[in-house]
């Protein structure tokens, strides 16, 4: 229905006044703590790679991302990541481990539809948009930078 009638408007106001709200403060604190801890772990891993001689500009951050992606994938496979996500919300969605979770979860889920149209095709239902917008934005910025530089 494209037009909301007066009755619908009043009803939606009633619903809004009655429906239970998420525990805002608890959610934000949990997101802060868990998100912070994942980043802290990232810093440990980064420092470790630097200490074994990887270059801090490129190699160490790349290795850190790959390691965190592995951890996120593995915990998803074990069925642990969704339990963390239930409590941490954005705290485990926003870090790169959440990006890995968003790839593994649909891949596992749609295995019953086969390895091509199931696993491979569904892998990017959530992560695909992130790549599309990230890559497109970066290319646009590159284009602007290229012309500004001329």
């Amino acid at each position: 229905m494209s037009k909301i009638t007066q009755g619908q408007k009043e009803y939606l106001q009633l619903v809004n006044s009655l429906k239970p709200k998420p525990p805002y403060l608890k959610n934000i604190i949990m997101a802060f703590l868990v998100g912070g801890l994942i980043c802290l772990l990232g810093q440990f891993i980064l420092n470790f790679y630097v200490s074994i001689g990887l270059d801090i500009e490129k190699e160490a951050p790349s290795a850190t991302s790959a390691t965190l992606v592995f951890l996120g994938s593995f915990l998803t496979g074990l069925g642990v990541y969704d339990q963390i996500g239930k409590r941490a919300g954005a705290g485990s969605i926003v870090p790169i481990t959440g990006f890995a979770n968003s790839i593994v979860a649909p891949a596992m889920e749609f295995k019953s539809e086969g390895y091509v149209f199931g696993v491979a095709a569904k892998m990017f239902v959530v992560a695909g948009p992130v790549l599309v917008y990230g890559i497109t934005t970066s290319a646009l910025i590159g284009l602007i930078y290229y012309f500004l530089k001329l």
Partner: protein, 118 residues
């Protein structure tokens, strides 16, 4: 020691901001991720994200805006090095490790494990 404290604080704050967007607006997690990666890319293009990375290390690179930053950083580097072609090659070059790891590990995990209902 300070790098750990900063990673925790800044990373935590970025995630808390994501939670605020999810709880107080009709945006769902996929929207928040797209907004964050785009925002990271734009801030990086304006030269504002690198200072945050210098300050917080993994606290700025591990959350998704850091992914947008990695893409833009790579594009700009490649444009400097090889001109216009860098617009198309730089982003994925610098984000290759994360993306390839996600695909390969994702595929392997989905072969090994099955989803478990709770």
């Amino acid at each position: 020691m300070l790098d750990y404290v900063m990673a925790f604080l800044v990373g935590g704050l970025i995630c808390a901001l994501g939670q605020i967007l999810m709880d107080f607006t009709p945006l769902n997690p996929a929207h928040v991720l797209v907004i964050f990666v785009t925002l990271g890319a734009i801030l990086s293009g304006l030269g504002l994200y690198q200072p945050l990375v210098d300050l917080a290390g993994a606290g700025a690179t591990v959350p998704l805006p850091g992914f947008g930053h990695t893409l833009v950083k790579g594009v700009i580097e490649e444009v400097n090095k090889s001109g216009a072609l860098g617009i198309l090659t730089g982003g994925l070059k610098s984000a290759a490790a994360g993306i390839t790891a996600a695909i390969v590990f994702g595929y392997i995990m989905s072969l090994i494990f099955n989803p478990k209902p709770k």
